[in-house]
């Protein structure tokens, strides 16, 4: 007698598109999805209740995208956010743009009205594929539920490979409820194509370095993305070439690395900007000559030849001619670069002297809280476990200038988009990704209120995120520009009628306290870091404090204003 054929085990049973979505996410190893339900995504939410991953219900879709973005920055794996059609989808857009500008792997999933209604201006119908085209690496409208597994697989691969970025998957409602057997088994990983690094360009780079007298490493966010921190440290150690960093490259070299001159650009350090202007060779590692870093491009590094290493061929030569152009992952390229180093001792000495002469000081007069000193102290107290999730404004620039980051993963900041409201949701994503870290959101009173509703998310999931709110009762960075470049004609920057933020946090069920004097700072930071649950330190600072140094917009980095900083 022959045994009955086990039909159920060999032939996949039809299931719904929504179920295939959940199964695909599970098979892709997703551990957390940030989202918010609504009519056009309800079948997926229905299937979610049995999912093996966690869903975090945020209180605004923008926060879902920001949290998923930060989760991705910390883990290196794609972050996932989920929203309904129409307003749910449009609320994701700022977060998608943020991920695009900072090359973050993000998978945004939206519901849409049924296929037959698409194009009819149906209730909550938005062409989200069209609306997000300029800010995604790729996107799909899935037309057949059977394609869900293969498209999800492809989407995760595209988001995370090469230069990472966001992708969008739009799911019409009929596709979510439609029955299907996956059209093909879950596809295997595409074969990794070995990167071909052009040896001729490598030799060109080596001879440019060999001929330089004042070479300088220009470290960008691509180093973190490539996982090349150790390679860059080894190269910088071996060659002793001084280094500067973009906002996104901070932490690749520790602050006390002798030849690390720190951040360049609009709020860069003087020693760093001066070194760029004086160097005769710029070795660009995973950076893109962003205008906030370069100031007026025509006068940026005027005496330098350029070696440009980047995974994205389209970045090379986009804004600055490269004398040696190496398309490839910094982690793969750098070990192949073995220049015969010329003697650069005078240059190293010049850079070190400039670094010492122009170092920040923390002895500002007065007994009010001095934000730069507080942030420096915060990073020191939190130590190697410190991860800052920054909002946008003066506080963001102070954090970049004064926090001592032990790795680029310790600094999560909205660089390319500069999106206020990023800080709290980014803190949520980062803390969920790295529960043992001291994750601290550094925010301002303007930015904080842009996603203040996420305090409810902190409370619901008991996420022990710490928040330092630097309250200058104004939109400080805008106020500073009005003071310096618009003749002190202050327009719509006054936030002196802010709510009592500590009381607001407490109303959300979150521990909060206030710091208003310099002498309270040390103990306040200790209390914040020691708190078991989420905690907010509401810090009152001088409304007239400015961020120095500053390169005026459109000017050369050689034309820095120093204010009262030196």
């Amino acid at each position: 007698m022959t045994a009955a054929r086990p039909v159920q085990q060999t032939e996949p049973q039809p299931t719904t598109g929504a179920r295939l979505v959940v199964e695909s996410l599970e098979r892709l190893g997703v551990e957390v999805v940030f989202g918010y339900p609504g009519g056009a995504i309800m079948p997926v939410y229905d299937a979610l209740t049995s999912a093996r991953f966690k869903h975090i219900l945020v209180r605004h879709e923008q926060a879902a995208a920001f949290a998923a973005d930060a989760y991705a920055r910390v883990t290196g794996k794609p972050g996932v956010c989920l929203a309904t059609s129409g307003p749910g989808a449009t609320n994701l857009i700022t977060g998608i743009a943020n991920a695009m500008m900072d090359s973050v792997p993000l998978v945004a999933i939206t519901g849409n009205v049924s296929s037959a209604l698409m194009g009819t201006d149906a209730f909550q119908e938005i062409d989200i594929l069209g609306a997000t085209l300029p800010m995604v690496k790729h996107s799909w409208i899935i037309r057949d539920p059977a394609d869900i597994p293969s498209i999800f697989k492809q989407a995760f691969h595209i988001a995370a490979s090469g230069r990472p970025g966001p992708v969008l998957i739009d799911l019409p409602k009929d596709v979510q409820v439609g029955a299907a057997v996956a059209s093909s088994p879950f596809p295997p990983d595409p074969p990794g194509t070995a990167q071909r690094i052009d040896p001729a360009q490598v030799r060109r780079a080596e001879s440019a370095i060999g001929a330089a007298q004042r070479p300088l490493l220009y470290i960008g966010g691509g180093v973190r993305i490539a996982g090349a921190v150790e390679d860059v440290r080894a190269f910088a150690h071996k060659t002793r070439i001084p280094a500067v960093s973009t906002l996104q490259g901070l932490g690749v070299l520790p602050v006390d690395w002798p030849t690390n001159l720190g951040m360049i650009g609009m709020h860069g350090l003087r020693a760093a900007n001066d070194a760029v202007q004086a160097c005769d060779l710029l070795i660009v590692l995973g950076a893109r000559f962003d205008d906030r870093a370069t100031g007026r491009l025509a006068s940026f590094a005027p005496n330098a030849r350029v070696v440009h290493i980047d995974i994205d061929a389209a970045e090379i030569g986009k804004l600055r001619h490269a004398d040696a152009a190496i398309t490839g992952d910094v982690r793969i390229v750098l070990p192949q670069l073995n220049p015969r180093m010329p003697s650069i001792d005078p240059w190293i000495k010049q850079c070190a002297a400039s670094k010492a002469e122009t170092a920040f000081r923390y002895d500002a007069p007065g007994d009010g809280v001095y934000a730069p000193a507080l942030l420096n102290e915060l990073s020191k107290q939190a130590g190697d476990a410190f991860v800052a999730a920054c909002d946008v404004g003066q506080h963001q620039m102070w954090a970049a200038q004064h926090c001592e980051f032990s790795s680029p993963h310790a600094h999560i900041t909205s660089g390319g988009l500069g999106a206020m409201g990023f800080g709290v949701p980014a803190g949520i994503g980062a803390k969920l990704a790295q529960p043992n870290a001291h994750v601290v959101t550094i925010t301002g009173d303007g930015s904080f209120i842009m996603n203040i509703q996420e305090l409810a998310t902190l409370r619901r999931y008991k996420i022990p995120l710490k928040i330092v709110l630097l309250d200058n009762a104004s939109l400080g960075l805008v106020r500073q520009w009005q003071e310096l470049f618009f003749d002190r004609n202050y327009s719509e920057i006054n936030l002196s009628d802010n709510p009592d933020f500590a009381a607001v946090a407490q109303a959300f069920g979150i521990e909060a306290f206030r710091i208003s004097k310099r002498e309270e700072v040390g103990a306040g930071i200790a209390r914040l870091l020691a708190a078991k649950g989420p905690c907010l330190a509401h810090v009152l600072i001088d409304a007239k404090e400015n961020v120095w140094p500053l390169v005026p917009p459109g000017k050369s980095n050689s034309e820095m204003m120093h204010g009262d900083s030196q």
Binding site: H138, S139, I316, K318, H321, A322, D323, A325
Partner: protein, 90 residues
């Protein structure tokens, strides 16, 4: 000056919109365009002009080449260079 591209692109939904949007967004004016169905893909002939002096046709070629679903990009400005040194920026 007008430069012409020949582009082979997948049939995927949104692919033409993606291509045209990229070209305009990157600072080029589309002077002429034709699309034909070549079976497994679509073939697009497109003539573009920079909107201002700061635009680099080679950078545009590389940006088009990066789009998912592009099979081939060729331009009369000179072959689009996948690895090489761009000559456009000063």
């Amino acid at each position: 000056m007008k430069d012409a591209f020949l582009i082979q692109i997948d049939h995927a939904e949104g692919s033409l919109q993606r291509l045209v949007g990229l070209i305009e967004r990157r600072g080029f004016y589309i002077a002429d365009m034709s699309v034909s169905d070549a079976g497994a893909f679509r073939e697009v002939h497109i003539a573009v002009r920079e909107r201002d002096a700061g635009r680099c046709i080679h950078a545009l070629g590389r940006q088009i080449d990066k789009l998912i679903g592009i099979r081939r990009v060729a331009t009369n400005a000179s072959a689009v260079d996948h690895q090489g040194v761009s000559v456009c920026p000063a």
